[in-house]
């Protein structure tokens, strides 16, 4: 069992290089090898889950099972474990990888750099499982970082301008998030002395210094929230998901964001279990993410961008659930189950929806809603599959999304019943935002659905070619998508059998001891919530048709009504990080950089001046120079005062005095050397002697 966990994490890394090696020689073989690797991983994952599930069936709540520890590696050693929740996510990850690998073969048929894609794709799988299986926060961090870097290549895969820019943003957010997380881990380790998830709870409850615990928690939250796409770190998400290849987008949206959520849950349930303040903090961020994502999705006119914004919004729903867990305290079973089930559901929805978008792109190489309008007409299977995903994510009864959203809603209602004071008002606002966001979800999914499957393309020739297209995906690519769509419907139809069991199986991770109660999902009260959302959705969709469509010659067209400049990244982050901070830093650095050189120059100009070289003064001496300068200055001043013109070729006083001095010196020399001068001096001497004799005697 322990070895199996290590195998699950390491195998994709090894397989990645093998697949890459095969790809150097044979392309088709490479595709099969990659799919085979996915299959092996999925099978191994199922085998690993078996003992955990057996425990569950025997009536034990699956706690963290035996650990696999690799001591000494990467500084602190790595440790893995498997419990109910981890099993669920391991299986989902392996399944999604298998589905996308199968889909990739057809999708990438005419793409370049496929080898690179497979290499990093499989490596990311290993890293992702490393995160999900991590038994301590350090291991999670190590694999989280690896995952950030390997998934970066997915975003940059297409190598066009938009992709490179999105990849840049993705990398920046990932690196900054990773660093914040590392800082948080350091603080946490210092405060508690352990990063082991099994010991964190007891260590945190006995910790006196709550403030630094909150700080550490917030920093770690920052790191994970950056990957989950929570507001205000969501900036990369609406850019990166659309430009990545569709299978990669499905993974980014469906499961990579969940690794961020996993981390947030790990912090919330191990450090701040049933902590109201922490719950409110997460709830606030969750609500902002949920509402903002939904608004962005309503406005978007690109299939994949809509889906990406939708992911952000759904992540917000999940965060709301996590926040409610903290607020509800020990009686948080509804919120826990809602969170867990919505995570599972959302993974399935996004797998379906992104792969449908990928199918569209694979056939028409366009994603703009106006261009692909009418593609789905007369394609019954695609229609059914998309409808299942759309109804699911919209939370329509009889589909699985309804169950999880109902649970989340029930959680909020329960919170309202318990709370008082300011929190009560806040929760009431949250409830309404929750319902409105649900309505927006329905609206934007309807927008996509109607555009793809009901409306006709504005160009009738294109519509004809769309209608004529009978085969749009190969059975191998389509099968997993159809399977996932079936699951969504099945889960929604029989929630007591499937959904409840999943929730029971995974609940242990959230600190949920045991849950005996049962929710009647299809009671009138619960259906009312869905009905309100649907009504809001209908109104918003009417608004979309009215305000977000423009009449053109060819008929009505969808327009992007949000101005381009309204972008947090362009408005705030980029100017701040690329202009203002570097300027300040560079200024300080410049000054300090030239400090020593400045001192040296100063010394050379003052104390250590070089001795004047003789010919530096070509004529005259210091006296004539100074005098000449003064006279020159005086003359200039006089002229300036009287506005006289400066005659040409006029000699300066400095020069004149120098010449005079030279003449004087020359004359002196001549005189000094002449005989008559000698005689003169001799006689002067004689005269003085005579005078002396006369006076003194």
């Amino acid at each position: 069992m322990a070895y199996l966990l290590i195998f699950l994490v390491c195998f994709p890394f090894a397989a990645a290089f093998v697949v890459y090696g095969i790809g150097r020689f044979h392309k088709a073989a490479r595709d099969y090898a990659a799919a085979a690797a996915g299959l092996v991983e999925f099978a191994a994952m199922l085998i690993a889950v078996c003992p955990v599930y057996k425990m569950f069936v025997e009536g034990n709540m699956p706690q963290a099972l035996r650990r696999a520890v690799i001591p000494g590696v990467c500084g602190m050693g790595l440790s893995f474990t498997l419990d109910g929740f981890r099993s669920i996510y391991g299986v989902i990850a392996a399944f999604m990888w298998l589905a996308t690998l199968l889909f990739s073969r057809e999708y990438f048929k005419h793409h370049r750099n496929r080898n690179r894609y497979y290499l990093f794709n499989l490596m990311t799988l290993g890293a992702l499982l490393g995160v999900f299986f991590a038994a301590d926060l350090f291991t999670a961090f190590v694999f989280f970082e690896i995952m950030s870097f390997t998934s970066y290549v997915w975003v940059a895969q297409e190598e066009n301008k938009a992709a490179l820019r999105a990849a840049e943003t993705y990398l920046a957010v990932a690196v900054i998030g990773g660093l914040a997380m590392l800082l948080g881990l350091f603080f946490l380790y210092h405060e508690l002395g352990t990063l082991d998830m099994a010991q964190l709870l007891s260590a945190a409850s006995s910790c006196k210094n709550k403030a630094s615990l909150y700080l550490a928690g917030a920093l770690i939250f920052f790191g994970y929230a950056a990957k989950a796409g929570a507001f205000p770190l969501h900036i990369w998400l609406p850019k990166a998901h659309p430009v990545a290849p569709a299978p990669a987008s499905a993974l980014l949206s469906g499961i990579l964001t969940k690794s961020g959520i996993f981390g947030i849950i790990a912090v919330s349930t191990n450090l701040f279990l049933w902590d109201e303040r922490w719950g409110l903090f997460v709830l606030a961020i969750g609500v902002a993410t949920m509402a903002l994502g939904a608004v962005l999705a309503v406005f978007s006119v690109d299939i994949k961008r809509t889906l990406a914004c939708s992911s952000m919004s759904q992540i917000g729903f999940i965060l709301v659930g996590i926040g409610m867990q903290g607020i509800l305290g020990e009686e948080n079973a509804l919120a826990v189950r809602g969170t867990l089930l919505h995570m599972v559901n959302h993974s399935l929805f996004k797998l379906i929806l992104f792969l449908v978008a990928g199918t569209v792109y694979m056939n028409v190489h366009k994603l703009d809603l106006n261009a692909v309008r009418g593609f789905g007409r007369k394609k019954k299977l695609l229609h059914a599959v998309f409808l299942s995903g759309a109804l699911g994510i919209g939370g329509i009864p009889l589909f699985s999304g309804y169950i999880s959203k109902t649970l989340l809603h029930e959680g909020i209602v329960e919170g309202i019943a318990q709370a008082g004071g300011n929190v009560l008002w806040f929760l009431k606002v949250v409830e309404w935002l929750f319902l409105i966001s649900g309505g927006m979800t329905i609206a934007y999914m309807t927008k996509l659905y109607v555009a793809l499957f009901w409306e006709k393309n504005s160009d009738s020739r294109i519509q004809q070619s769309y209608d004529g297209q009978k085969t749009y995906w190969s059975p191998v690519s389509g099968a997993p998508v159809v399977f996932a769509a079936g699951l969504v419907a099945l889960f929604g139809l029989l929630p007591q059998i499937f959904m409840n069991r999943i929730a029971d199986f995974g609940g242990g991770f959230f600190g949920l001891a045991d849950y005996a109660g049962s929710v009647s999902y299809f009671s009138l009260e619960n259906l009312k919530g869905a009905a309100i959302s649907m009504a809001i959705g209908a109104v918003i969709y009417a608004g979309i048709r009215r305000f977000l469509m423009k009449e053109t010659k060819a008929g009505k067209e969808y327009v992007m009504a949000l101005p381009k400049w309204l972008d947090l990244e362009q408005l705030l982050y980029r100017p701040l990080l690329l202009r203002i901070l570097p300027f300040l830093g560079a200024l300080a650095c410049r000054i300090l950089d030239s400090l020593v050189d400045f001192v040296i120059v100063l010394l050379r100009k003052s104390v250590y001046r070089d001795r004047k070289i003789p010919h530096e003064l070509p004529e005259g001496n210091t006296l004539t120079h100074v005098l000449g300068k003064i006279f020159d200055g005086a003359r200039r001043g006089k002229r300036a005062l009287l506005r006289q013109e400066i005659p040409e070729n006029e000699a300066t006083y400095e020069h004149r005095f120098a010449v005079q001095w030279e003449k004087f010196m020359e004359t002196n020399t001549i005189i000094g050397r002449s005989l008559s001068f000698g005689l003169l001096l001799f006689y002067v001497g004689l005269v003085f002697t005579l005078l002396y004799l006369l006076i003194c005697s």
Binding site: V73, G75, V142, E145, F149, L179, L182, F186, Y189, H190
Partner: protein, 491 residues
């Protein structure tokens, strides 16, 4: 082993270098093989010495009283000597290929090998006087290497290097005199040698002297504001910049600081003093400063030089924490940074050698033509950033945990500096990597016609380094245990 071997390893390199420079060689390959052989033999000898350490001290000259020139191998010296002697043969191999385009090769290799001996002598020094002498000699031996191309910039750079180094050594000299005066002995002993009876009331003076000594040796370790010689010295041929200015010279500075901090002044004497706060502030500033200058710089080698400035201060940060764990962090970053930086420098050198492109913006799309070099460069870049699974992470992790453990208030800011610097490192290293793999729009592949990966002499060292970077990143326990033993005085 006999202690005389300590002298032998110091003498073999200069002698071999002299033979290369003076003997009448017929063909280039002959002296190349001879020199590589001599360097390898010397390195093997050093490693034999490391594993069979001679217990006694080898005194060469005894001046008077405590003053002597003597060699001894202790824990700290083991690490530095091991590091230098491991890297030198590879660097020499690389230099053979790189220097084909330069003149006066044999003179160059004389000084190059001479430096090997001198650096080893610093590592093996028994007392502060010996270390000081060889420290000065290192400056003199490396000036000709910096000046090698004899271009105007090279002459200016070497002049600057000389002034800075000699000036720094003057400060260090003051420290040496005080150690001789106030210490029990001049030898290096873990925990310090200051005699507290002699120090008496003069604690503050001595702490100030430590500050001066730190700055003095810090010149070679390029602490701000004495750093500007290092980027300028980048005009020297790449083997010089890589080995000397990323490994031997700058690490000698860091090594000397470790020596005076832990082995002469003693951490108990310094911990908590104003001198510690002062040097810590300088070091933390340099960490951020070096990175931000690197972000700004567009010249590839100079960018790496600024990165070196910042990374050296990581080592010094560990040193000035003045705790055993700090020493562990410092030593691990000393070793790992040497690996990462020599790797990235050699990649830069290979790019310059193959394409004669020296600016970052000229590297668009080169990764497609030089996949091996850029693959290796990417690994070293990620390692420098501190990505988990590569060796840079281990040393940064050790440093940060040492900082937290030390409980010093300033060291919390130090962790912040480490993280900011990691972010900046990501910017300046990844911008190169991203550019090379994903060229900007309008890039034309025809302009790169005929560019290939270099031959095996350049690649072999790089591959060895990259294996070590990954290897130590995944499993570093034995090395870190060794450092812990050294810091605890057990080794």
């Amino acid at each position: 082993m006999n202690a005389i071997c300590l002298l032998l390893v110091v003498l073999i390199p200069p002698l071999a270098g002299a033979v290369v420079a003076l003997a009448p060689w017929r063909r280039r390959t002959h002296w190349m093989i001879f020199l590589e052989f001599a360097v390898v033999v010397n390195s093997v000898l050093v490693w034999l010495l490391l594993f069979n350490r001679p217990a006694d001290t080898l005194t060469l000259i005894h001046f008077t009283g405590e003053l002597s020139i003597a060699f001894r191998l202790d824990g700290l010296g083991t690490v530095f000597a091991g590091l230098v002697s491991f890297l030198w043969p590879f660097a020499t191999l690389y230099a053979f290929e790189y220097m084909t385009k330069e003149k006066h090769e044999r003179v160059f290799f004389f000084f190059y090998t001479l430096t090997y001996g001198v650096t080893l002598a610093i590592a093996l020094s028994d007392n502060i006087l010996t270390m000081y002498c060889f420290y000065e000699m290192l400056t003199l031996a490396t000036v000709p290497l910096v000046m090698h191309t004899l271009s105007r910039e090279a002459v200016l750079a070497s002049r600057k290097y000389l002034y800075y180094s000699i000036g720094g050594a003057a400060f260090a000299f003051i420290g040496m005199i005080f150690i001789i005066t106030y210490g029990d002995t001049t030898e290096f002993l873990l925990g310090g040698v200051l005699n507290m009876v002699k120090v008496g009331e003069n604690r503050n003076v001595l702490q100030f002297i430590y500050f001066l000594t730190f700055l003095g040796f810090g010149v070679k370790a390029a602490v701000c504001p004495f750093n500007s010689w290092l980027p300028q010295a980048g005009v020297a041929p790449t083997p010089v910049t890589a080995l000397l200015h990323a490994v031997a010279v700058v690490k000698s500075g860091a090594f000397a600081i470790l020596r005076v901090t832990y082995y002469s002044f003693g951490t108990d004497f310094l911990r908590g003093s104003f001198a510690q706060s002062a040097v810590m502030a300088i070091v933390m500033f340099t960490i951020v400063y070096g990175c931000s200058m690197a972000v700004k710089e567009t010249h590839l080698k100079r960018r790496l030089a600024f990165s070196t400035i910042s990374n050296l201060s990581y080592i010094l940060f560990g040193a000035v924490l003045m705790t055993p764990l700090g020493l562990v962090g410092a030593l691990s970053h000393m070793v790992f940074h040497a690996l990462m930086k020599i790797c990235s420098f050699f990649c830069a050198g290979a790019i310059i050698h193959q394409t004669e492109r020296i600016y970052v913006h000229q590297l668009d799309g080169l990764a497609k033509k030089m996949p091996k070099i850029f693959g290796i460069f990417t690994v070293s870049a990620l390692a420098l950033m501190g990505v988990p699974g590569l060796c840079g992470f281990i040393s940064k992790f050790n440093l940060a945990s040492a900082a937290i453990e030390s409980g010093n208030l300033l060291s919390y800011f130090g962790i912040g500096c480490l993280l900011i610097s990691a972010l900046l490192t990501a910017i300046y290293m990844l911008s190169i990597v991203v550019r090379a793999y994903f060229p900007a729009e309008g890039f034309r592949e025809e302009t790169l016609e005929g560019i290939t990966d270099p031959n095996w002499m350049m690649l072999v060292p790089l591959i060895v380094f990259v294996i070590l970077i990954v290897g130590f990143g995944v499993f570093s326990a034995p090395l870190v245990t060794l450092f812990k033993d050294i810091a605890g005085g057990l080794f």
